[in-house]
Amino acid sequence: MNRTADQPEPNPLREGLSARPVPQPCSIVIFGATGDLTHRKLVPALYNLAADGELPPGVVIVGFARRDKSDDDFRREIEESTRKFSRQPVRDEIWNAFAQSIFYHRSEFGDEAGYEQLAKRLDELDKSHGTRGNRLFYLAAGPDQFESILKNLKAAGLNQTCKGSWARIIIEKPFGSDLASARELNRVVRNSFTEDQTYRIDHFLGKETAQNILVLRFANAIFSPLWNTHYIDHVQITAAETLGVGTRAGYYEDAGALRDMVQNHLIQLLCLVAMEPPTDLSADSIRDEKVKVVRSLHRWSRSEIAANVVRGQYTKGAIHGEPVLGYRQEQNVNPDSQTETFVALRLFIDNWRWADVPVYMRVGKRLPKSATEISIHFKKRRRCCSIRICGTSTCSSFEFSPTKESRCEFMPRCPAQVFASSRLKWISITERPSANPARKRTNVLLLDAMSGDATLFARRDEVEEAWAFIDPIEEAWHAKKDAPELYFYPAGSWGPEAADDLLARDGRAWRRL
């Protein structure tokens, strides 16, 4: 949303053409170039940017991995996966031009000499492809490789560039598995790259709807005065998916839904809903306000956790009419696994704006539909003009998927009744359906990193504060004595009944999605 100090001077020919910061030429070095993330997301995202004309001239992609292969082998493999996973069909003429900027560099992650050769190669690409000495390193490898990669990048001098150029690093989640490991990871990163150079990617924040929350809250006078405990009854955040654990069991068994989704995505979304207006639109001003929200999350004592956090695991059931396995029967999952595939939480934010306003979050796998939504439930007016009003409260919602709509629902008078309970839905389609269907969250975030805009990336303190909130829950769950129960729910249901009880106790119910 704003430019950092290393942004270029304005180009006079750009005036009136683009409101976004301009991405700069650079070499994008992907560590873990033969992995799933590179094939399914990163290169398809870069291809889509190229096809949309959003990739600046002078961008090259260098895949860094252990396996032995040539540039052409790598191009062929990556072409195949891009054709499979790209959101827009791959056009030969665009691919052929794009592929000329793709290279492969073979090296072990721990081999110092491999990085020295990489540095030489990048210097050559600067000359041949006009990448201007700018480097964007993308850690798409396993977290266990991070330290080795970062150390070697530093040893080869790749963490620094000459004046006028930049070096940045993008880190994929998980940013640790608890507060201690997150701090350790941050220490390792900080040894090689400054915080300004570090971009912790959270793909949820790249969604247009996430960015619309701030605009809707702060740019509309009908909302800003109401956005507080006086008018808001409660907030619900749901991230539901029909998918099971799939091929991720190796990671998921250790992580679970709380670490996988709540610690990062859901808390980040909550920050956008709950933060105070930033002093300006710079990345740090926005992140300063976000981190205050995380710090203000009420910490439950161990005895309170069972009453406010519900964990569940799916058993066999059906999704879209098709029978599916239970979690414990999935491949590579421990048959006695205690890993949660569902979490529901009742949170409070201890500040003046949100005092006594509960925030209910739920996230789960194998739920009846895939949907991500934040809904703000305004307080009910119980009486008006001496007449009791029945029905539901006014509600604003931000639906991330499937519709990408921001909605405001309000109650009109029902025909032939004095006051009505029917709900009129006013819909704002926030993303034009055909404006740019291929422009997805990863694309936006890659452009932001190339432009030096860190607004949509998590800062060190945000990550650590989120773990500080999560850790006591994990500790309670893993306690040898009196650990809160793991509930089971059939695949295709909306989670265990205990999750409904969490709201029912407060006289509320989950929004039907």
């Binding site: 270029p8 006079p12 020919l13 190229a50 001239p57 499937p402 990408k404 819909i427």
Partner: protein, 352 residues
């Protein structure tokens, strides 16, 4: 609802005084999940016979992405009798979510006789309340310019490429702006046509290290299609205005000379050839040539730079749509004034 699906028909004829009531009925009789949506009033004015049907087809496509109240007007000003016929219809499209139909309504008018006196009242009495008015004027402007109409228009859309007399038209535009107290935004589709080319060329100079190249541009070549000289000149005007060049000399209809800072000369070569409205642009700065050209497939631009004899590494990017729906859609997603356009126009207005 007679027009539940996408339709190209003018719809149901209605009495002029009952348009709002009939529109209300249209929605009450509708079946299924439909949402009426409107973000603007989009009025289209044409004097071409048959334009009502043509513009209805365009509206069916434009409303896919731009929900509006469409007011489509065909005027036959030579008729002696004064007569107005009206129709109402709806353009419905399935939303991105897949279940709902989002519908825009269209009111169509066939004006006969005293067009200029009828037009303001027709437009003003049928606007969707409190929404901006975009007027797409498909004719050349002519006097009298009725202030009653122009003071209500937020954005006037026109295409200057077909203008027979650029100077008289710009004079009328200025008059219109005066009537509207400068509030009206001028949107020239001839300028919109250049968006992707401008974007492609601008990318070369994003990095600060390339800025010095702008100050060394000595030659510009613009290849344009027959009938699109004004488009090419607007492009030259854009470069001139943004880079502080001033017209020094018109050597011939195809050769212009600008003066830049420190009395540096910039020669512009305008070459007419078959192809896209502006088919290729090349800038020479020192020993580097920056080139943007249409790729063979027609819907992509190929951009490349070459220093001395080094190999070009072309990059492809979308060329955009030069059809009316593409151009109008580009224009409708914008807000704010077209300052860059006005600067470009001012830079080359004596050449147009």
């Amino acid at each position: 609802m007679p027009a539940a699906a996408e339709t190209y028909s003018l719809g149901a004829p209605v009495e002029i005084g009952k348009i709002e009531q009939e529109l209300k009925k249209l929605w009450q009789e509708g079946e299924g999940a439909m949402t009426r949506a409107s973000l603007m009033n989009l009025a289209v004015y044409s004097e071409q016979p048959g334009s009502l049907n043509n513009n209805t087809q365009l509206m069916a496509k434009i409303t896919e992405n731009h929900a509006c109240r469409a007011i489509v007007i065909e005027a036959d000003c030579r008729r002696e009798e004064d007569r107005v016929d009206a129709w109402i219809s709806a353009h419905c499209h399935v939303s991105s979510a897949g279940s709902k139909q989002v519908c825009s309504e269209q009111i169509s008018f066939l004006l006969k006789g005293g067009c200029t006196t009828q037009l303001p009242s027709i437009v003003l009495s049928n606007l969707d309340s409190d929404l901006p008015l975009y007027l797409w004027w498909q004719e050349e402007f002519h006097e009298p310019m009725d202030p009653q109409l122009w003071t209500w228009v937020d954005r006037v859309i026109y295409d200057s490429h077909g203008w027979s007399d650029f100077r008289s038209q710009t004079r009328l535009l200025e008059l219109m702006q005066k009537e509207a107290n400068q509030r009206i935004v001028l949107c020239d589709l001839n300028w919109t046509r250049l968006d992707n080319l401008r974007f492609a060329l601008a990318q070369f100079f994003d990095h600060p290290a390339s800025h010095h190249r702008l100050a060394k541009i000595s030659k510009v070549r613009i290849d344009f299609a027959p009938g699109f000289r004004s488009t090419a000149i607007l492009f030259a005007g854009w470069l001139g205005a943004q880079l502080n060049w001033h017209i020094e000399e018109v050597k011939s209809p195809r050769e212009l000379r600008f003066t830049g800072a420190s009395a540096r000369h910039i020669d512009v070569d305008l070459r007419e050839r078959d192809g896209e409205p502006v088919h290729e642009v090349a800038l020479t700065s020192g020993d580097v040539e920056f080139r943007v050209t249409y790729a063979d497939c027609g819907d992509l631009l190929e951009i490349s730079r070459a220093q001395n004899d080094e190999k070009r590494i072309p990059q492809l990017m979308p060329a955009g749509n030069n059809d009316p729906v593409g151009l109008i859609s580009e224009e409708l997603i914008r807000g704010g004034p077209h300052r860059v356009y006005l600067n470009a126009l001012n830079c080359v207005r004596d050449l147009l």
